[in-house]
């Protein structure tokens, strides 16, 4: 049975409700971030960038952690269910988007605060490596082959990333701490957040987390559909392959 037009979507009543909540939260976040909240004593108006910057990097970390967990579940589970791999892939893709967003907003913030778009600070550098690592992971997912091949290869790569990222992070941290050419403001300086600012930041985290869940639900369903349609293509290919035998 072909679904009716109304059903031909990756949405469900639940995701629609979640989507509505996300939309309201986003509107609140923009209002609160740009108008209602006060400017920071130290950072001035630049603190407003943090309300989108911090939640995006938070989502990226969460997404990559989920990718690692799902890849581990795929490798260790007896069932070897490709569903784990779909969630892992969808999550990594969203993570790459959000880490890119946070790198861009971070460098805009850096231009205002430090006077430069990029500094070779430990956190920035290891975040850049994080980005490249998962771009590589997505490239491995596109290598082709059967679903099980894709799942096994990409889950192994995701688990290797779990080893790689702390090593890169640790070495970059060590690199910076021993070679401190500190002329820029300390990026880790504590920002004193008043009530409304703290609320806005928390609102940002909640909003982006809900947004992540919404995107993830849709994206992994799209991957399922892509896999299904590819599989259907296989059915047709098998049928036409069988006809070759009769044709001769």
């Amino acid at each position: 049975m072909t679904p009716t037009a109304a059903h031909a979507t990756t949405g469900t009543p639940a995701t629609r409700r979640l989507g509505a909540v996300v939309a309201v939260l986003l509107a609140l976040l923009v209002m609160s971030g740009l108008w209602w909240s006060a400017e920071d004593v130290v950072q001035g108006s630049t603190v407003r960038i943090m309300y989108v910057h911090v939640p995006s990097i938070w989502v990226a970390y969460m997404a990559f952690a989920l990718t690692a967990v799902c890849s581990g579940a795929y490798v260790s589970g007896r069932s070897r269910s490709v569903a784990w791999d779909r969630v892992a892939g969808a999550s990594a893709e969203i993570g790459v988007l959000f880490v890119a967003v946070s790198l861009v907003t971070g460098s805009l913030w850096g231009r205002l605060t430090w006077g430069t778009y990029w500094v070779w600070d430990a956190r920035l550098t290891s975040t850049a490596f994080l980005f490249i690592t998962y771009v590589g992971y997505l490239a491995v997912r596109r290598l082709g082959g059967t679903l099980r091949q894709r799942a096994r290869r990409s889950s192994v790569i995701a688990l290797l990333a779990v080893l790689e990222i702390p090593l890169v992070h640790f070495s970059v941290e060590l690199w910076r701490s021993l070679h401190q050419e500190a002329s820029v403001a300390n990026p880790n300086a504590r920002v004193e957040l008043d009530g409304l600012m703290l609320f806005t930041l928390m609102l940002g985290l909640a909003t982006f987390t809900a947004l992540f869940v919404w995107l993830l639900l849709h994206r992994q369903r799209v991957i399922l559909l892509e896999d299904t349609v590819a599989d259907r293509g296989l059915d047709e290919a098998i049928a036409s392959r069988r006809d070759e035998a009769g044709a001769r």
């Binding site: 679904p3 990756t10 740009l34 861009v104 907003t105 913030w109 231009r111 205002l112 559909l225 259907r232």
Partner: protein, 44 residues
């Protein structure tokens, strides 16, 4: 507001790219769903 251009730019970039991605996902989902049966979409 001081530095308005940078702040607006970061909001636009953030929400713009997320919106573009979300739109792409939803549209791709619709295109794919049209080629699938309801049994193949366990959420319906």
């Amino acid at each position: 507001m001081e530095h308005a251009s940078f702040i607006i730019a970061s909001y636009v970039l953030t929400f713009g790219s997320i919106a573009a991605y979300a739109a792409w996902v939803v549209r791709r989902g619709r295109a794919m769903a049209r080629r699938a049966t309801r049994e193949e979409m366990p959420w319906t």
